[in-house]
Assembly symmetry: C2
Homo-oligomer: 415 residues x 2
């Protein structure tokens, strides 16, 4: 026999840690232990949990304090019974992350600090769907948010823009719900803001919303699917605490999963996609949205008033959602589904039918139950997730913020 | 604003390396570099690539040589032009891995050595589908394989059994194609073999086959879906070189993805599953398989003879496969599909229709092409993957073999 097959070779053979990186690695190790503590932690506890010496901890703590990454708190309750805690905690000043989102009911901007607290959350109606108009509107919101937060001694370090479609190397490949194709959203945004040197990351909104839900659950949720319903439908997949982006970052195109192979045509070119049954335009059918309201608000209002056409559309949307979700869960083996975006507002009309299909169609559902429920952060998951993704860069690599510090006191906007 | 959400905390805070583990870690590091080299590598090259000192490398090489994990080769060509190479390579004696598989055309057993070379591959017809009969048949094959290989100075360290269904904690939860439910396949196998102390791992056959293909591709394939067609249909998902098992190890239930929501009933309790269109029994419809042949051979023979009913069944199987695969690829974002198991033999009749559906239904296919082709290892992927998975345990953690060494020279079978 000679079929030679080679068991897994490490793709990048590991290397031992070298002295020159040790200082950075230890500082980041200590900082991540402070993040993981979720509350005040003493230098002694840090020495125990990291295995580093007390003098090393002391030196690193000084560096983190000077850099506004942590503060030294007085007595504070840790939320449980027992004696109050003192120690080192994440700073509420210093670096901040900006998130921006394009959704069915308008535009949104959010800023979070290092502790993960939302410090700014603003909404505005969108002036149409054309990319330059949408991004000019978001640039205006970003400028206003950065101005507002500077007064609180917070510096926005990086921005993350959520878009409803697959992104590659910063370019929105396709966003059928907005009619976008190959849009350099980061460049349009940067060209319209006053903060020309702000690093901007563009990412899929369902992925960012899934990260928002992961953060918000404080890691009690480790594997789930976040379904974002709106003008289109997308999904973010979290498996074992990690976002599963796929080979090129385009995973989770739930809206284009086939429900009926010979169904209605979809703008994507296929037929019978979930999007043709369960997106907001599909649920509205040809009914115009009354002036001054949003598609979600119109559907919710009609459903609450018992309008038969709306209720029937929601029924078939729920069934179609359940069929497509079953496919997704059979493939991924995940037992929790969070309905987000506009679906978080419509969940009470969608969930029963979706559950019935999932119960019937997911092979493992007969012995392992599946949970379908509204997202924790509701329709704000994507913008909060985008802001948290921005600040998470500093939480993972605090030394990049420390390296920026000389420029920290100068204004972020050109005079 | 006070919605506090906590960015990613490390779930298991890292710890620095301690002295007592250093010896093991360095030995395993060096061994993995020898695995990764894929051919002879000198002590000097190992010192450079690992960053360890030459005396440390020398000491570790002695230990690996004494443990039959590596050999020191004379001049040998590395397959490219230039001067012959000398150096350390993986041993063709010492530890071996056993794989066992239950497939549509019978039972299979395989043994591979550390180099990944198949040293034994055997097939036998299955006496029915009842679990005790099937596992007694496999136990007999395992005993024969271990006896045959002992003469070549190879010791089977661990066995991996491939089963067509989801597995949890060693129990086959459900294998609709065999009519199994909650079967402790490892215990039945162990009870029937003479090698009562052999560690046995039970795993899903599509997952193991996907690993087999990953190994066989020498990591040139990093993200792909392996589709296993047979009595049932399953899939193994490899993303960025890693098997994606899902939250509970039950991912890839492609056979139960819905093709038509109101299609034919499936043994799983749902309707219109891919399995009802494209499994071997579905393609055969009610046509009995002639005595002395297998379902795959019967279908292939009829298709080659141009039998209209068979060709029509293969056409609709290909279309259904394409619809279900499109759902999978929209969700996962993977651009390569390997048709394996019996589908590797039927690929020439299935691929055109499957490709047409994928081209039309996968959102990203219009700008990023998708490849569908037969698996490299054909129907043997699962049994070879199972054997490689067994030996890979030693490749990842060679110290477990070294710890076993005192027992290495005693016979593995009781006298």
């Amino acid at each position: 026999m000679s079929a030679q097959v080679r068991p897994s070779r490490p793709r990048q053979p590991e290397r031992p840690v070298r002295q020159e990186n040790l200082r950075t690695l230890n500082l980041e190790l200590v900082f991540r232990h402070i993040v993981a503590a979720g509350g005040p932690i003493s230098r002694t506890e840090l020495a125990t949990s990291t295995g580093l010496t007390r003098p090393t901890i002391t030196r690193i703590a000084e560096e983190l304090l000077a850099g506004q990454l942590i503060t030294e708190g007085g007595p504070a309750h840790n939320g449980r019974a027992g004696r109050p805690r003192v120690g080192l905690t994440l700073s509420e000043k210093g670096p901040a992350g900006l998130g921006l989102d394009i959704r069915a009911d308008g535009l949104a901007a959010c800023i979070v600090d290092l502790t993960g607290t939302v410090r700014h959350l603003a909404f505005a109606p969108s002036a149409g769907r054309d990319a330059p108009d949408v991004l000019a509107g978001l640039a205006h919101m970003a400028d206003a948010a950065i101005d507002a937060i500077t007064a609180e001694d917070l510096t926005v370090v990086t921005a993350t823009l959520a878009v409803p479609g697959p992104v590659h190397a910063g370019i929105v490949q396709s966003a059928p719900a907005l009619g976008w194709r190959n849009v350099d959203a980061g460049a349009l945004l940067r060209g319209a803001t006053r903060h020309l040197d702000l690093p901007i990351t563009v990412d899929n909104e369902a992925n960012l919303a899934a990260l928002g839900e992961l953060y918000a659950s404080d890691n009690t949720l480790s594997s789930f699917v976040y379904v974002s319903g709106g003008l289109g439908i997308g999904a973010g997949i979290v498996l074992d605490g990690q976002l599963m982006r796929g080979a090129r970052g385009w995973s989770g195109e739930l809206g284009h999963v086939t429900v009926h192979p010979e169904g209605e045509p979809c703008p994507c070119g296929s037929r019978g996609c979930l999007q043709t049954y369960a997106s907001l335009p599909a649920i509205l059918s040809d009914e115009p949205v009354p002036a001054g309201t949003t598609p979600d608000a119109a559907i919710t209002g009609w459903a609450e008033a018992g309008r038969p056409a709306t209720l029937a559309a929601l029924d078939s949307a729920g069934t179609a959602l359940g069929i497509a979700l079953s496919d997704m869960l059979n493939i991924l083996d995940i037992d929790t589904v969070l309905l987000g975006g506009s679906f978080s507002l419509l969940a009470s009309w969608l969930t029963a039918n979706a559950r019935a299909e999932v119960q019937r169609r997911v092979l493992t559902a007969t012995w392992a139950p599946i949970t379908i429920r509204p997202a924790l952060l509701g329709p704000d998951a994507a913008v909060i997730g985008a802001a948290l993704t921005s600040i998470d860069q500093i939480r993972q690599h605090p030394t990049t913020w420390l390296a920026l510090r000389p420029s920290h006191s100068r204004p972020t906007a050109p005079a």
